[in-house]
Amino acid sequence: MDVIPCAMFRKHAYPMSQSPRTALPAGRAEATLTEIFPAAGAEAAATGFVVAQLGQGTAPVLWIQDRGAQRETGHLCLAGLGLRRPLMTMQLSRPVDVMIAIEEGLRCKALAAVVAEIRGDPPAVNFTAMRRLAMRVKATNVPCWLIRQAATAGLSAARDRWRIATLPSASDPDDRRAPGDPRWQVELFRSPSGQTGTWVAHYDRRTGREAGGAADRLDLVAAIPDGTLAEDAGTLGQRAGR
């Protein structure tokens, strides 16, 4: 059984040929517009997935929610978020306003990232609007994440498109009955490099809580097609660390 251990931000270990363009803050090499489609019930997982990749620094993150997303899946909880950047939040009622606000945010180079959550498939989120956002991202080099809750993955100009679903968590070494570090099944189903695939993301809560550990807290492990290891929760993470 071949398990490839890799950390999201370590170049050599990433299963794709180069480090992902979604990894933004350290090098700020090339920011992208990224879409994430969480499965039903995995909206918080998408939040965690994005937060784990925002890095740390003093540049703030602009986080925009439309009313549907806020009503259905709640608002962010700063204490549990573990974000190591200042956070500015906006709650807007209409998806049109969200798109306008994203565009305004992407004009500002002082932001670390713009994250937006839109629920459903509103007509405002169409190919033209996405194309505008992609151009804006390219112009200012501020990464943009769109979390498309309960949406269908139609035509889009986003460079990277992910699907995310929850998996049973890793076992907690201190308490067998407790849920441990969260794990998600992430699928990169569209990427300009063509290197798509499915991974099991392992989110390390402990390094996240300690100072300076933000960069390495997300591990991507290639998903096992037969699923024999996945059933045995916990062993996968241990083997990946070996």
């Binding site: 918080a44 200042p86 906006m90 709650q91 306008i100 500002c108 679903a165 929850t166």
Partner: protein, 499 residues
């Protein structure tokens, strides 16, 4: 006191007038009463007494903290407002005498009274105008500052100087002396101004030769009678930054005139080294209607392009009617803003960019749309964070030792729960018409109600982190315990979702 009452009324939480209320300040031995309302005055509460003593006297007393700084600022604004009666007004905010908080306005009405139909009519008009603002006032008219001060506080209602005899029955305190000097004079048997004036000047001068001028009764007496000059120095009105465009023909769309107006305004601001915080664009229609649009900046700014941007999408809200012929742009609030050097590398200033972003978003979506989380000292999760204005400096986030979810629902949602033991974790629960079987759990974490602000009877919460077979992780709590005497069976709520 009255300024505080108006503020409370405006925010909608004013108490009834007949409840005794006071404002207090910090004294050396605990809070001291600073101002009282009418009901408290009738109940025997006196200014300057200790709050603890007055509580014993009047148990129903409601106390709030006074804000002398804002009072002083309001007084200075009121002094500017009083320029409507005469051009020479000043705020008298020097703490004079033993009367704490006795602030006043001084108006030099020389040559202005005939415009209001005589002195008595002018005083009546002043009192009426001030009462429409919600302030009660005691007015007096006299040839010197000192005499007017004394008559306003110790003389009859709307006193007008008739002659030096008016002052003789007033107490010595009316000379703007502090409590120590007044006590000394009283011990010497000099209780009124008349007693002091009858004394030979030489003995008074000798007795108080070491007193500072403000506490020297002889100097104060001379100022009151006019033997010593005491001019009123009126502060300059704050500068008005305003640019107008007067048009020959009525137009319907002000868009093309806005950049010019902004540039003119920014030139004025640059000369004064100030930046605009609030802007008001006023459009005067030919049929006499006036409409205005307001915009605000998060940081003071005098960049014409940025100011134009703030109005960009809001000009179409103006109803042009038959067109308008005067457009005026005014900076209604300004702050000092020096010239700033951007670094030599030519990088853009990040803080400036951020403030511009905040302005643009606030101009479009309203001032309350953009917020920043501010940690608050509370264990109740929904109270542990407050909304603050963006770009404000925040206290450091105190890390919570226990785990918190990534997302919190706006209102905890009630769920139906099956459990093995009432005190234990749930075995299965139903949320939003879907049932989840609990595979693993962690907890409980008990959070007790905050007795100092919760209603009595609020139940404690036992939080559990649970995970179902598919890996959905939730934060549930049970409100209360079985048989805790605060209602029936405990209810369960789902409060947050973990990543």
């Amino acid at each position: 006191m009255e300024r505080w009452q108006r503020t409370q009324e405006r925010s909608g939480n004013a108490l009834a007038d007949d409840l005794p209320q006071i404002l207090s300040t910090e004294g050396p031995h605990g809070p001291v009463i600073h101002a009282v309302n009418r009901a408290a005055h009738l109940a025997g509460v006196t200014v300057g007494a200790r709050l603890a003593d007055m509580r014993a006297l009047c148990p129903r007393l409601r106390a709030e903290f006074a804000d002398p700084e804002r009072d002083r600022a309001a007084l200075h604004r009121l002094a500017q407002w009083a320029r409507r009666w005469c051009p020479w007004t000043a705020a008298d905010d020097r703490p004079a005498g033993g009367m704490g908080g006795e602030y006043g306005l001084i108006l030099d009405t020389t040559g202005s009274d005939h415009l209001w139909g005589g002195e008595a009519a002018m005083l009546a008009e002043m009192e009426a105008s001030l009462s429409t603002l919600g302030f009660s006032a005691r007015l007096a008219l006299a040839p010197t500052w000192g005499a007017a001060w004394a008559l306003a506080r110790f003389g009859p209602v709307r006193a007008i100087w008739q002659g030096a005899g008016d002052l003789t029955p007033l107490p010595a305190m009316a000379l703007r002396l502090d409590a120590e000097t007044v006590l000394l004079l009283n011990r010497l048997g000099l209780r009124t101004i008349g007693h002091l004036a009858d004394l030979p000047r030489l003995s008074l001068a000798r007795r108080f030769s070491r007193a500072p001028p403000a506490q020297n009764p002889l100097i104060r007496l001379d100022q009151t009678t006019g033997h010593l000059p005491e001019p009123v120095s009126a502060p300059d009105p704050p500068p008005v930054f305003r640019a107008d465009a007067r048009l020959a023909e009525p137009i319907f769309d002000p868009t093309h005139h806005l950049p010019g107006l902004c540039t003119a305004l920014c030139d004025q601001l640059a000369k004064a080294h100030r930046g605009a915080r609030r802007l008001c664009l006023t459009v005067y229609r030919t049929d006499g209607e006036v409409s205005r649009i307001e915009a605000a900046c998060a940081l003071p700014s005098r960049e014409a392009a940025h100011l134009v941007f703030l109005f960009r999408d809001r000009l179409d809200r103006i109803d042009p009617g038959f067109g308008f012929d005067l457009i005026s742009l005014e900076a209604s609030a300004t702050e000092a803003l020096g010239t700033r050097q951007v670094d030599l590398a030519g990088d853009t200033d990040t803080s400036l960019e951020l403030s511009h972003l905040v302005d643009r978003l606030a101009a479009r979506f309203g001032r309350n749309a953009l917020t920043q989380f501010q940690p608050a000292a509370s264990h109740i999760p929904e109270r542990a964070e407050a909304r603050a204005a963006p770009l404000a400096a925040l206290p450091a986030l105190v890390p919570v030792q226990t785990e918190r979810p990534q997302r919190l629902l706006d209102h905890p949602e009630e769920i139906r729960v099956l459990y093995a033991v009432p005190e234990g974790p749930p075995a299965q629960f139903q949320w939003r018409r879907r049932s989840y079987r609990v595979a693993r759990y962690q907890g409980p974490e008990r959070i007790a109600p905050e007795w100092w602000q919760d209603r009595p009877g609020t139940r404690l919460r036992d939080y559990f982190k649970v995970e179902d077979d598919a890996g959905h992780r939730f934060w549930l709590y049970r409100e209360g315990l079985q048989g805790d005497g605060r209602g029936g069976a405990p209810r369960w709520f789902l409060h947050g979702v973990f990543a």
